[in-house]
Each structure stands twice: as structure tokens, then as C-alpha cells.
């Protein structure tokens, strides 16, 4: 594993993970108070995947995201204020309040959008990869999907296209063990999801998705290879979502023991302990960063709450270019 280059990089990874965690915790609060309405699929627990994977990218690279997309949007460079406002359906949101949690997108950061359809970004990512090939640039596309999406028909159509044409697409499979309530064991004929890359002629590796550096190293190696024209790959990240599938999920399908096990594998805790142990950060640095992020999230929340809803006249705008 590559050692961390410097304190600045360590702080950046830790800050992004903290932003995602606190952002999601805040949304849970807002949902509980009915300040946020509608559904929200929270990313808390999976932060190391988005932050590690995005650390391997350039700003001009593309990603497609999932229904659990807040973390991807933050890690790809989305502005906290605009993201929070979008989740509340406000005019100042990154999609002017027309997308919401399930459609968070900031194309200016290369994020081609969260998606309300499981596997909805798969074919789009193939097309973004094809576009890179045809435009002859060395960009890459990361296609984030969950374990559940690997059972969709479009997964197989898309990976076959990308594998056949050797497109620069890297699949980041966030295996959080459950597609809503149904475990991978009960839903997938193979539980080693990396095997699903094999028929499409692409290399795959499984990493511990709670380790931001492990994710980054794995993704970085494949990104480098894809930029050099060597085609697609898959990184399966074993991870866990702390909250349920959505706000209404009582989590009857998993055990307290399992939740406790994964809570001990907390990506933020693991990384901050490592940084302190290696002398890169002090405990005080970590605490100050946590406080700094808390302020950022408070500001974003205030911005979102204080922002106006879209004008009624917005109902019929933006349908066509």
C-alpha cells in the first residue's frame, strides 16, 4: 500500500469522509424533524469507498452514481450548500430543486448523476466511456453500483459492451451486503461479486472498502491502466451502510452483532487512528477537523433551510434545450 504523501492529503481524505458522515447524520436529523421530506438513502458507513475512489480521479473524469449518491456527489467536488439545498428541493440546489436526493447531479464536476433506478447509470457509463474513446481523450469513467445492480439485465448488457470495446470504465461495486433487505447470499448466484467481471474480460479485485487507502490504491491502478488504453476493470468494495436502506427501514434482516462488527470497522475511525499512529496527524488535528466540518455542515444546512423553493414558473422550464 502506498504511504500517505503528506499531511495535507491525509487531512483532505479525512475531511471528505467527515463531510459525508456529518452530512448524512444531519439529513437523518432533518428527516426526523420533517424539515427534509421524501426519501433518502444514506451513505454513512461507506465513506471510504467514495473518497478513496475519487482520490484516483482528475476533475475532468466522469462518474455515474446510485440511489445512495450523496457521498459520491460530495467526494467528486460538489458544493455542500448546493447539495443540501437540492435534497431539500430548494431553488439554490445543484439541480434547482428539480432532482432531489435520488437525482443529485453536478455535471460541472463530472458527476452524471445519482439515479432512482437500481443500475440506472450502467448504460450511461458505457456511453460516457465510448465518448472518451471517440473523442480520443485520456479521461476515465467510474461507474458506481451496489451489489443489487449486478443482478440487473442492463449490468450484463453494459459490461459486455464495455468489455468488448475495451472502454475506459471502472466499475466500483459497493457491496454493502444487502439490496434493500435481501442479502447478497439470497439474491446472487455467486457471492464473490468480482467473478461477475470475468465473463466480460475485465480484471477485478475485491478490497476492504472501509480502508480509504486500499480503495484508492486499487482504483488508481485500474485508472492508470484505463488511461493508457488498457480498458475496463472492476473494484468490489466490501462495505456497510449504518442506517437502513431508507428512513422507514426497521433493519429486521440483519443482526445487532453484524451491525456492531461493522461499527468497529468505521472508515473514519480506522483512518484517523492510522494517521495519528503514524505521526501524520495529532489527535488535536483530528478533533479540530471534526469541528471544522461540523461548522461547514451547519452552514450548508442553514443555507438550504433559508433558501427559497423554486418559483411556480419553474414547473415547465428545463424540459427541452
Amino acid at each position: 500500500m502506498s504511504p500517505l504523501k503528506d499531511k495535507g492529503t491525509a487531512i483532505f481524505y479525512l475531511q471528505k469522509m467527515m463531510e459525508i458522515r456529518q452530512f448524512e447524520d444531519k439529513i437523518m436529523d432533518l428527516l426526523a424533524q420533517n424539515i427534509a421530506e421524501g426519501g433518502s438513502h444514506l451513505y454513512a458507513g461507506e465513506e471510504a469507498v467514495a473518497v478513496g475512489a475519487m482520490a484516483a480521479l482528475r476533475p475532468d473524469d466522469f462518474i455515474t452514481s446510485t440511489h445512495r449518491g450523496h457521498g459520491h456527489a460530495i467526494a467528486k467536488g460538489g458544493k455542500l450548500n448546493e447539495l443540501m439545498a437540492e435534497i431539500l428541493g430548494k431553488a439554490t440546489g445543484c439541480c434547482k430543486g428539480k432532482g432531489g436526493s435520488l437525482h443529485l447531479a453536478d455535471v460541472s464536476t463530472g458527476n452524471l448523476g445519482a439515479n432512482g433506478i437500481v443500475g440506472g447509470g450502467l448504460a450511461m457509463a458505457a456511453g460516457a466511456g465510448l465518448s472518451i474513446k471517440l473523442r480520443k481523450t485520456d479521461q476515465v469513467t467510474l461507474c458506481f453500483i451496489g451489489d443489487g445492480a449486478t443482478n440487473q439485465g442492463v449490468f450484463h448488457e453494459s459490461l459486455n459492451m464495455v468489455g468488448t470495446w475495451r472502454l475506459p470504465v471502472i466499475y466500483i461495486v459497493e457491496n454493502n451486503l444487502y439490496g434493500m433487505s435481501v442479502s447478497v447470499k439470497r439474491a446472487s448466484a455467486v457471492t464473490d461479486l468480482a467473478k461477475k467481471a470475468v465473463p466480460y474480460n475485465m480484471p477485478a479485485v475485491t478490497v476492504f472498502g472501509q480502508d480509504v487507502l486500499a480503495v484508492k490504491d486499487a482504483v488508481e491502478a485500474y485508472v492508470k491502466s484505463a488511461r493508457a488504453g488498457n480498458g475496463p476493470a472492476m473494484v468490489v468494495c466490501d462495505t456497510y451502510r449504518y442506517y437502513g436502506h431508507s428512513r422507514s427501514d426497521p433493519r429486521v434482516y440483519r443482526t445487532k452483532e453484524e451491525e456492531k462488527y461493522w461499527a468497529e470497522q468505521d472508515p473514519i475511525k480506522l483512518f484517523s487512528v492510522k494517521c495519528v499512529k503514524e505521526g501524520l496527524l495529532s489527535q488535536k488535528d483530528v478533533e479540530e477537523l471534526d469541528k471544522f466540518v461540523e461548522n461547514e455542515i451547519e452552514e450548508a444546512t442553514k443555507f438550504a433551510i433559508d433558501s427559497p423553493l423554486p418559483n411556480d414558473a419553474e414547473l415547465f422550464t428545463d424540459l427541452f434545450a
Binding site: 466522469f62 448504460a123 460516457a128 465510448l130 465518448s131 439485465g153 427541452f320
Partner: protein
């Protein structure tokens, strides 16, 4: 003016736009070496090469969805779905992704994508290769739907569709490919969203599109000899709908017959009839009449297939009944 076939007009539009804009490329099943199931893309692979004329696997969701991904990242794809019947496999891409992405993103992206496909009965291909499914697409806000009936319209509308910054579903008819018509050598574009009054008349308006429009023209010609003055409108574009041209005609003729090959129940004629009622009820001297496909899966037997879709005689009969 020279005459060329409908398929040739489409082929020319593709070739010209690919020559003009390096962002335009084609992908679909059997479009490259084979030249397309109905040979519409013949010659283009030889002219533009493997990268820009791409044979795909039999994967309709990936073809249409990848079209979207390429469109929002700087390309101008024209994807082909061999039969409109196969669009079912790609409907999530069309309905949930392509039609909605610009709106959902607050206008922060554009989707310059053409989905070319082909439909209709007439070759006794049975229920999976003969459908007219345009009402699936017109139901969805955010996409444009074009169904040309002549080589001239086919070329001008396809060129406009390729230059359009919005998704267009462009539906050809398998029985039109070898029909011929006048197409100028020089370049021209036709506006998407404009109906064409093919023939002026005063007694009744006959509205149609695609192959059925040709039946309407023949029916109108015969009716004229029998003393009935028929105004014939080719809708050409279903979405956006040129309701003004229809309403203006109804204000003149006071009667409207709509003919299409698609199923009657839930077909697009019903939507047009409702809009005409809303906008021109007081001008109507008779109920709007629909001459449509029978509400059954398309049967194989040639006699049953003929019975299942409108033809010149059933259209004539409907017009006459309306005038009684």
C-alpha cells in the same frame, strides 16, 4: 427534381451529417458490415469506418443508454433499434433516463441523441415485428417523436433531428423504405413540430402520419372524384404536436378523421381528439372519428394482418359515414 427512395433519403441524411459533424456517430445491431436490417445504413461503414459506424451486441438497453451517456459527454449519437418492438427492452433508458435527465438536473445538461427505429405491419412478420408503438413515446414528456411518410420529409427531418439538442425518437415504416419521392440535391432542413397540409379541402380533415398517410392520400383522391373535398394533413411530428394546424383545418372543414396503424385504445388519435375537443368543440359538426389498428397482437396470416390495420377503403368508408 430527382427521385430517390425513402431508405436512400435517410441514408443521405446520415452521411451528410456525419460528414459535417465529427461528433455524429452511429451504433446499433447489424448497422455496419451488414448495413442495417433494412439496409438503411448501407455504405456508411465503408465510408466512415469502424469507430463511427459501430455494430453492437444484441443489447437494446445498452445501445440506447450508451447513446445517452455519449450524448451528455460531448457526442451526437444516432442509435438504431432494429424494430420498434424491441424498444421494450430499452424503455427504462428512454423513460427514466433520457427523457428526464435534463429536467431532473435543472437544465444543466443537454441530450443531443437520435434513436432511429422502424415499425409497422405489412410483411406478415407477426406480433413481435409489426407494431406501431408511438403512443408509448408520445406519453413521455421530454422526448420528440418524428414519423415521416415521404423521402423528402425523412431526409429533412432526420437532419434536423441530428442537429437537435434534445432526444428524438425517429420512427420509420418498413413498408415505406422502397417508396420513392422527390428530394432535392441541395441541402435542406425541415422543422420538427410542423405538420404538412398535403392537400387542401373543405368537407372533412383527414389526419395521419407514416404509411397510413399514403392510404389517406389515395382515399382522398377517390373521394374527390365522388364529390367529397378532403383536406389531408401529414402530422410528421407527433411530439411536439402541431395542434394549431389541425385546429385551423377543423375550423374550416368541421369534421376530423384520424387514421393510424397503432392500436385504437390508448393510441395517439385519442389524444388529438381530446385536444381538438378542448380547442375547437364548437366548430365540430360530427364526433371526431378514429380509423385505427385492431386491438389485437398482430396476427401472422396475411388476410388477418390486412384486416388489423387501416387501408384506403376503410378510411374512405369512415369519411363517408362521417359525412352522412
Amino acid at each position: 427534381m430527382r427521385e430517390i427512395a425513402y431508405w436512400q433519403a435517410i441514408n443521405e441524411a446520415l452521411s451528410e451529417e456525419m460528414t459535417k459533424d465529427p461528433g455524429v456517430f452511429i451504433m446499433g445491431e447489424d448497422v455496419a458490415i451488414y448495413g442495417g436490417a433494412y439496409a438503411v445504413t448501407r455504405g456508411l461503414h465503408a465510408k466512415f469506418g469502424d469507430e463511427r459506424v459501430r455494430d453492437t451486441a444484441i443489447s437494446e438497453a445498452a445501445i440506447v443508454g450508451a447513446g445517452l451517456g455519449a450524448a451528455i459527454t460531448g457526442m451526437r449519437p444516432v442509435v438504431e433499434i432494429m424494430y420498434v418492438d424491441f424498444m421494450g427492452i430499452a424503455m427504462d433508458q428512454l423513460n427514466n433516463q433520457i427523457a428526464k435527465i435534463r429536467y431532473m438536473f435543472g437544465g444543466k445538461t443537454k441530450v443531443p441523441l437520435v434513436i432511429r427505429t422502424e415499425g409497422g405491419a405489412g410483411r406478415t412478420l407477426g406480433a413481435h415485428h409489426s407494431q406501431s408503438l408511438e403512443a408509448w413515446f408520445t406519453h413521455i414528456p421530454g422526448i420528440k417523436v418524428v414519423m415521416p411518410s415521404t423521402p423528402y420529409d425523412a431526409k429533412g427531418l432526420l437532419k434536423a433531428a441530428i442537429r437537435e439538442d434534445n432526444p428524438v425518437v425517429y420512427i420509420e415504416h418498413k413498408m415505406l423504405y422502397n417508396t420513392k419521392g422527390q428530394v432535392p440535391e441541395e441541402e435542406y432542413l425541415l422543422p420538427i413540430g410542423k405538420a404538412d397540409v398535403k392537400k387542401q379541402g373543405k368537407d372533412v380533415t383527414l389526419l395521419s402520419w407514416s404509411l397510413t398517410l399514403l392510404h389517406c392520400l389515395k382515399a382522398a383522391e377517390e373521394l374527390e372524384k365522388e364529390g367529397v373535398s378532403v383536406e389531408v394533413i401529414d402530422l410528421r411530428t407527433l411530439a411536439p404536436l402541431d395542434i394549431d394546424t389541425i385546429v385551423n383545418s377543423v375550423k374550416k372543414t368541421h369534421r376530423l378523421v384520424i387514421a393510424h396503424e397503432a392500436w385504437k385504445t390508448g393510441g395517439f388519435a385519442g389524444e388529438i381528439a381530446a385536444q381538438v375537443m378542448e380547442k375547437a368543440f364548437d366548430y365540430l359538426d360530427a364526433p371526431v372519428c378514429r380509423v385505427c389498428g385492431a386491438d389485437v397482437p398482430m396476427p401472422k396470416a396475411p388476410n388477418l394482418e390486412k384486416l388489423a390495420i387501416p387501408n384506403k377503403d376503410t378510411i374512405k368508408k369512415a369519411v363517408k359515414e362521417l359525412l352522412v
